[in-house]
């Protein structure tokens, strides 16, 4: 894996930042209160973590996708939930604005998000429409000067914290193939409310809730992209955005490996360190091998994205492999820790819980397989 000098220094910055800011005390407090400190978010914004690959023009740092992945890995190594605050403005929420926003929309919505002054969420999933996003039932009706939105979005990361959310809604355009439109919805607008924050297994400290839309008026200026083409915006965002989840998984997996190695050398059974037993040392070898394979796949995909090559299939492979391997690696780490790994006093307990969502959100592993197989089976005659 060849990193440029610039990428290595960005990695170093992220590592220093994570070690210094994401202390055990801060992370314990985050787990206990489910609130991630605003001061750390502000510091993240100041060093450029919220717009790593966003162009300078819109307040970003103008680096590349490899750098984005490295920052995600380093932050997730210390805290998966902290890395979620990095991925959102760079990818899931900032992405659609960057690719489809007008100049005015980017200035009004993207810049403050990149600068850390505002939070933007991404509202696609519905109680009855997850992987089949096109089956959504939220509606948008054209009322002349504005649209009126009704419906319910679910599992929306950061919804209770967000200033704005990109909402996707069914919109009768007269074209059945293009009937979903994206809107930038002000979370303080009349008729917008959030459900109770979900009580999650892991990544605690980043509230996730429903968004309820009741006759919400959205000005026409806040239509994002071409009316009727919302689904393409959503899927396009998820397409390369999933490299962020893959990177989170790499960070968590590396932490689990490091913790397992340290513990295996220190913990004694039958008069010697457990690392001296092949049952443990072979497991560690397998963990390290899987991690490295996933790291190379993710890095390769990032370089393709940086070269602006089409790589939906590689991005899907990256997320599939990195998140599944991560789950396997954290599971083995808990196994190596034995009973201690089940206790909240040990970090691997948290890694185990945090990792579980990686193969679920931003497209399950099964959805990744659909993307990969479609690219093979549909594109070849």
């Amino acid at each position: 894996m060849q990193l440029t000098d610039q990428q290595q220094l960005i990695q170093k910055l992220a590592r220093q930042f994570a070690e210094k800011e994401l202390t055990n005390d801060v992370l314990d407090e985050t787990e206990a209160t489910a609130v991630f400190p605003k001061e750390i978010q502000d510091k993240m914004a100041a060093v450029g973590f919220f717009g790593i690959k966003t162009p300078r023009q819109w307040g970003g740092a103008g680096a590349d996708c490899v750098s984005y992945s490295l920052v995600m890995q380093e932050i997730a190594y210390r805290s998966a939930v902290a890395s979620l605050y990095v991925s959102s403005p760079n990818s899931l929420s900032g992405g659609p604005l960057l690719t489809h926003g007008t100049k005015e929309q980017k200035e009004k919505y993207l810049r403050p998000v990149v600068e850390g002054k505002k939070i933007l969420a991404f509202g696609l999933t519905e109680p009855g429409a997850g992987s089949d996003a096109g089956g959504m039932s939220t509606t948008a009706v054209d009322e002349g000067d504005y649209f009126v939105l009704n419906g319910r979005k679910t599992f929306i990361t950061m919804a209770p914290l967000a200033d704005w959310t990109i909402i996707f809604a069914k919109h009768d355009t007269g074209d059945k193939r293009h009937n979903i439109t994206a809107f930038i919805v002000d979370m303080k607008a009349e008729g917008v409310s959030c459900g109770k924050p979900e009580n999650k297994m892991g990544i605690i400290g980043c509230a996730t809730s429903d968004i309820i839309l009741e006759n919400v008026k959205v000005p026409k200026d806040d239509v994002l992209g071409k009316p009727g083409h919302g689904l393409a915006i959503a899927l396009g965002t998820l397409d390369v955005g999933r490299i962020g989840v893959a990177s989170q998984a790499l960070g968590v997996a590396r932490r689990a490996l490091d913790e397992a190695v340290a513990y295996a050398k220190e913990r004694k059974e039958f008069g010697k360190p457990i690392a001296a037993f092949q049952g443990i040392s072979f497991t560690i070898a397998e963990m390290a091998t899987k991690l490295h394979a996933a790291e190379l796949l993710v890095w390769d995909t990032c370089t393709l994205i940086d070269k602006k090559e089409r790589c939906s299939d590689k991005a899907a492979m990256s997320k599939y492999l990195a998140t599944e391997y991560c789950n396997w690696i954290v599971d083995r780490a808990v196994q190596i820790f034995g009973g201690y790994g089940y206790m909240k006093d040990y970090i691997v307990e948290r890694l185990y819980r945090d990792a579980r969502v990686f193969s679920l959100y931003e497209g399950t592993t099964e959805v990744q397989k659909i993307v990969i197989s479609n690219s093979l089976l549909r594109s070849r005659k």
Partner: protein
Amino acid sequence: MKIVVTAKRVPDTTEVKTDPVTGTLIRKGVPHIINPDDVHACEAALQIKEQFPGTEVNIMTMGQADAGIKQHELLGMGADHAYLLNDRFFGGADTLVCSRTLAAGIKKLGDVDLVLCGHQAIDGDTAQVGPEIARRLGIPSVSCICGLQISDDGKTATVTRMLDDGTETLEVPLPALFTVSKEINEPRYMTIYNLVDSFSDPAKEVTIWNHEDIGLDQSVLGLKASPTQVVKTFTPAPKGAGEMIEGTPEEAAAALTAKLVEKHLIK
């Protein structure tokens, strides 16, 4: 203001291991870092830049070509320019020749109001180069400062110097040179903005000067011109485990004396 921060690339001594057989340092594969005190010097300069907008922070390094990459860390923090004094004739210099070389580089920059150095480098630990540069530039110097305040008119500095038994506050006219200790500040993070600039903005490109650029004849440079001769470097043999003597001061003193007598160290 025009500030020069001297910065040295050093082996990360926390990563240095000793060869158990030969007793020498294993230098191979040891990562290099910017000398930690120098990072604090850079932070001090950047704080002055915040006080006086328009201040220019210049990094001056003497070293091999790959030291230029390390300078990017200081550019990443917000320094404006980096100069690398790189020439095969510079190699093997002791502090006397090192200060001659750096002073010539600083003179070439010209009109410098303030030179900030780290108190000492973690590889050599001499703490001599800073004051030697000041002498060569003919400006006052204060070593090992833990506090620095520039007057509003930018003409004088109030510095706090660390002493063995306390601190001393001095007022110094500028231009001057100070060597800073790590207690002076907490260095800021690099930012991705500055890092990207440091690799893409031509104005931030590292400027490389050789002996001709800084107007020094090769006869006064490098190992040959250095009066310091390193005869031998070695790792001291590890000391045996110490022993804590318990009890009241009187009892402890008696126990200690008894042991010293036993070892024939006192009579």
